[in-house]
């Protein structure tokens, strides 16, 4: 049989349900790949034996009613998994073994999937290149020495290298969409509140949202359907009935109005990205959508707002790591305060400490109004921009990122240039609206490029349909040579 791991998630589930292949065969195929792919450093924890025993159990007593019957899935190491180490890419949680399961992973297991391993990510999801992880850089399988993006870099790398049939990430400012764009995969950040945050290591609570990362748009619909849903344990979870995205998936996008925001045409953006954007517009037009020029005037303020709001919330969320209740504790220090200070100094990496300091500063007495309150007001203006535009259009089309994947180390010592990576993705987190990145082309070095579709609140189905329609017209061949297996 041909290599099973080239299949999409949807194909694998179909084959298992038709009894044409066993879960064990599928699982073994991925296990083989994982074992040969250490160079990519995309896994922090492998649960290969556990996955194999789950697969064997499934084959003995198969239940074909789940959306994800019999498939192994590796997930970002930000999702707490019962009895399995959950590190958030940090030394602070190097040996943390949760005794509970996140709602989102639990939902996946309820649909018949099981855990293959925990994937590398930027420390506490703070980064755009997966270079801040305590467990080392992740490599982009598309090209040696290139970053996979971040913070869900391990997820993107493992997916693109066929080490998992699909995966999940989290997106606070672009952490699903940017790595998806850098690796030629599909990534969706849902509407805030669609997927429960319960059991996900918190970064910035008003922005964090979990979402699927997949090879195809159909897989994305399937994963979103499986992982989403109301959860009373998350006070910001949206109380509504579960949507059947995969069943309702349709290529018919006739008459949909697509906005093109002029503010996303930024200085210094490579021509190839501009051309790709044009190509996207052309395809949508050919499929019967109407293209409308729009304006989102406060776009340029999104990053400054983000770099106040996200660190502020992070500094508050990360106050819990005090060396007392769980996680790392320093052996140095003669009193409680010194123990706290040494624990946090030794347990956190540089980028996390930098953001805690920014957050602490903007929330500190005398500065709150000038920074945090100001940022929350501008955040309102950014949300108003989208509200106004969505009266006229059904979705928005933009590039996903202002550049393709960069070299490891290239931006590591320049926080601002690193932060600029998220220029197109951050506004939707601030507004709480859904957005997805789909592969749409390559630059002159064969590095993938993505286009971003932005939707109305709870407009995931429209985004998926638009993406499906574009996917069928823009057939992207990836140039992956498996160089890392040599």
């Amino acid at each position: 049989m041909s290599d099973l791991t080239n299949s999409s998630l949807t194909e694998l589930v179909d084959l298992i349900k038709k009894k044409e292949i066993k879960s064990e065969e599928v699982t073994n195929a991925y296990i083989d790949n994982v074992k040969k792919s250490k160079k990519l450093n995309s896994f922090i924890t492998e649960t290969l034996d556990l996955a194999l025993s789950k697969a064997k159990n499934f084959d003995q007593k198969p239940n074909f009613n789940g959306l994800l019957s019999g498939v192994p899935l590796a997930v970002k190491d930000l999702f707490c998994t019962r009895g399995i180490k959950t590190t958030a890419g940090s030394k602070m949680l190097e040996n943390f073994i949760p005794n509970y399961e996140s709602t989102v992973t639990n939902n996946l297991w309820s649909e018949g999937a099981f855990l293959l391993g925990k994937l590398n990510c930027d420390e506490y999801a703070m980064g755009s290149s997966n270079e801040t992880s305590f467990f080392g850089n992740v490599i982009n399988p598309i090209k040696e020495n290139t970053v996979p993006g971040g913070s869900s870099g391990g997820s993107a790398s493992a997916l693109a290298a066929n080490l998992t049939p699909a995966t999940i990430g989290t997106d606070t400012g672009g952490s699903i969409r940017q790595p998806a764009s850098f690796t030629g995969t599909v990534g969706l950040k849902p509407t805030y509140g669609l997927c429960s945050r319960w059991g996900i290591v918190a970064f910035a609570s008003s922005l964090d949202q979990a979402g699927p990362m997949t090879k195809t748009v159909s897989d994305c619909a399937l994963m979103l359907e499986a992982m989403s849903g109301f959860d009373p344990k998350d006070s910001t979870s949206i109380d509504k009935k579960k949507e059947h995205y995969s069943k309702k998936l349709s290529k018919n996008i006739k008459g949909l109005k697509i906005g093109i925001p002029k503010e996303y045409r930024v200085d210094g953006m490579p021509n190839v990205i501009e051309e790709l954007w044009e190509k996207g517009k052309k395809v949508l037009k050919e499929e019967g959508a109407e293209i409308i020029d729009i304006s989102l005037p406060h776009t340029e303020y999104a990053l400054p707002v983000y770099y106040i709001v996200a660190p502020a919330e992070a500094s508050s969320n990360l106050a819990r790591y005090d060396g007392v209740k769980y996680g790392y504790r320093s052996s140095k220090g003669s009193n409680l305060i010194e123990m706290y200070e040494n624990t946090r100094s030794e347990g956190f990496g540089d980028e996390v400490k930098r953001r805690i300091l920014i957050g602490t500063y903007v929330l500190s007495s005398g500065y709150y109004d000038a920074y945090y309150l100001k940022a929350q007001k501008v955040r309102q203006l950014i949300k108003n921009d989208f509200d106004k535009v969505f009266v006229k259009v059904d979705a928005i089309l933009t590039p996903s990122t202002p550049s393709t994947a960069f070299k490891i180390g290239e931006k590591k010592n320049d926080p601002i240039s690193m932060y600029l990576n998220d220029i197109f993705t951050v506004p939707t987190n601030l507004a709480g609206i859904p957005a997805m990145s789909i592969p749409a082309g390559h630059d002159e070095n064969n590095l993938p490029l993505g286009l971003q579709l932005i939707g109305k609140p709870l407009g995931e189905q429209t985004l998926l349909n638009l993406a499906l329609s574009m996917e069928s017209k823009i057939n992207i061949k990836q140039y992956i040579t498996k160089w890392w297996e040599k």
Partner: protein, 95 residues
């Protein structure tokens, strides 16, 4: 705006993170750059704009006042770096 070394030291104290002199120097440079970038916000007039505190339309749900959890002391203590059968153990706080 410049964030000098004294400001870094004060903020680090508030955040309960210790840094050496070299780190403070480099943080002062990084944070000054980041705050210069953030200053852009002062260009916009936000008078009469209400701060956005939640992007959800609904107010936070309240649940019935019923116990749904509890009696899990052992589970809570499970991951503690230092503990006895009942408590977290920390360096001496009161002399």
């Amino acid at each position: 705006m410049s964030i000098d070394k004294d400001k870094i030291k004060h903020t680090a104290k508030l955040a309960r993170i210790s840094f050496d002199e070299k780190q403070i120097e480099s943080l002062s440079k990084d944070l000054s750059n980041i705050f210069n970038f953030i200053e852009k916000l002062n260009k916009i007039n936000t008078e009469n704009i209400k701060p956005l505190t939640s992007i959800l339309d609904h107010t936070l749900r309240s649940r019935e006042d019923k116990i749904t959890d509890g009696g899990i002391r052992n589970k809570i203590l499970e991951n503690a770096p230092n503990k006895n059968e009942e408590f977290f153990i920390v360096p001496k706080v009161i002399e």
